[in-house]
Amino acid sequence: MNALRHGYITAPVLGVLWLFVIATTVAVAMSFATGSAFRPSGTGSIFWGVLAGFACIRGKVWQPVAAAAVITVATLFGFGPIVIGVSVSSFSAFVGAAATAGFCALGLWMMLDDVVPGAINRHVFEASVIRFLTGFGYIFFTAIVLIPFYVMVLTSLKNQSELIQNPLDFSIEFSRGAELFRSYVELFSQFNFGTYLLNSFVISVLTVFITLLFAIPGAYAVARLRFRGRAAFSRSILLIYMVPMIVLALPIYIAFSMTGLRNSMIGIVMIYPVTTIPVALYMLQGYFRGLPGEVEEAGLMDGLNRLQVIWKITLPLSLPAMASVSLYVFMIAWNEFLLAFMLLDDPSKFTLTRGIASLNSSEIPRQHLMAGSVIATVPIMAIFLGLERFMTKGLTAGSVKG
């Protein structure tokens, strides 16, 4: 390790690693954006990475700028850290080359801020390694999160033959206009997705209401009232989290088949809340415990009974927690797949997730499947982004069900 802590070694090693990360990122990004051939080059990355590392050691600003310019030119001539195919337009080739060189130099300049030519101390060395890891982390996580969603959205806007011809070509032809959204129009006109959307919405909202109706009094009792077995009860709520759904789904399927509840919305609305009540109860009781008990006692002294206290004092005080719990329960119900898949056969009663599952056949083109996925994802994302504060709190507070 000591040998590494030397400006002339740290800089080129980080330079090579960083340039390779950047080259791969740019190659993937450019391929996905244009569908043309970009690929990172190992030997190119090593050679130019060493050079860029030396150039970015603490010194004059012109050094990294010059290094970036040299790398850009070298890339355009075919000797750079990324190799650009022959058929690529000169504009996108330039963008790719410049982005690689620019981000490489910029990143290294920031990373090697304190690294001097010569021996460096442990602090400086570790700080630069951490900066490298941070940069890599941002790129890595953003890429792995975004790519599947990017593929989902753009696949839904293409058509089958285009997809098979070049699976990398995600460029959108805006000239097609409204034709781009053909899959969506077809899903709503021919595949009943309007009904599914409505069903999912109704079921999720009902689930939220029923869950709250059950969980609020229960949570209040566990949080505020003294009774024997309270501790055991609040613990065993957590145990219910641990029962796998598939184990319950089998007997529920049998019972519903025999009683004729299968294939009915009522059956689904009876089951969904029970899967969410324990989570909601656990989240709410945590919040209720944090509320000041004096306010409630004052209410009791003034002649309210317990139920009135809950309704008039506790609930208004815990509106933010209600919002978190409702959003979280809504999300669970909206995303639920297994029970809907097992219990619903009649297309007029499908929820969105069940509807998407029915699109998964070889006769239905893939862009329909992806369009359906987008339709299911967009509402929950919109809610999530709009109310992120509540949602995040809900996710953390509930110790959360997977």
């Binding site: 690929r39 792995i144 999160v145 975004l146 089998l250 809340p273 929950i380 996710l395 959360v400 997977g402």
Partner: protein
Amino acid sequence: MTDAVPPKGTGPLARLEARLAWSLLAPTITAVALVVVLPLLAIFWISVKPVSLSDLRPPEMVLREDIRGDTDTAGDAANIRYRLRNSSQEQPIANVTFRDVIPEGLTVNELDTRCTLDGRSLECDLGDWEGGQRERLMIPVTVGQAFIDNGLRPQDSPADITGKSSNVLTNTTFTFDNFARVFDGDEFWEVLWVTLFYTVFGTIGALLFGLFAALLLNKSFRGQGILRGLYLFPYVSPVIAVAFAWIILFDPFSGSANALLVQMGVTQQSINFFGERPLALIMVTVFEVWRYFPLSFLFILARMQSIDTDMYEAADMDGASPFQQFWALSVPQLLGILSVLFLLRFIWTFNKFDDIFLLTGGNAGTRTLTVNVYEQAFAISNIGAGAAVAVVIFACLLLFSVFFFKFISREEGL
């Protein structure tokens, strides 16, 4: 004078409070008992029953009636024909009887010995029926003018048929075949191994990635909120949507991932990510990590933000390097939440069904215990065997929950 002593036992107020508490909890307890406890008990019952998917529809008598022969003029001779069969090929039906009303204007000439006629109402007692038995019962009649005028055929008044069949779910036939089948051969050990691999690596992977992501975002900068929201996307979006997006991304024929790998020269031939052993198992584990790292990330970040920064300043003054600070200060502080997350995620990953079911359907060596429940119960139509696998899962969970309560309940106040 007597000393003041604190009251002993429960007073009337405390009793009132306890009663209120239980009545507030009653709806929840009832609902949970009906939908969680009852099915769990049912699983044990079903696991020792020879039940298949077709047994869910109990055997019943199927009856069709019509009239054969000329019925155009009064005085024609015709037959009322009853065609009966047992809907099940195996199971007998006992005490089969049916009732019907002979339409007006038809005079019965001759009666089967098992039937009686009272005015217009016909009643037949057909005894016990074997599985798959079918019979044709003919009743010769003479057509009268009233029948032709009314235009009412025999099939217009449906016959009423009853019979007793024993339901395999409620009778007393028990079998251990289900368990024998589940534990039979190498398949069980493979399933167990796959489950363990998936659970252990899925859990550890999600934790490590979550830790890494949390370290990245544990500082305030512009755009931190956006990135935090973005990193939660895999967890909040519907599993079916992201699973299909992955399938399409990694499609062996027209997937972008393969096209990318070929273009970059990593591979010459396209790779069938979800269809080859052992790659498919690795891929579903990666998917699990991808989908659930946000959860660990969120918890670890919340814990990190509550760590006192003074400590780090003091360490800085003492000359501790960033890595030393991480190992000596952050890791011990995070150990509690990490162990809670590990146990919870371990159990939930063990229980996971949807993800693998959607990605591979349990093929190509990715069949975990939970997928095996579905596979046995619905793909092979052997509900009893599915229930037996569920019992095995339940036993494993009991084992885990012992650990859970031993180690976890002390941590983090859960």
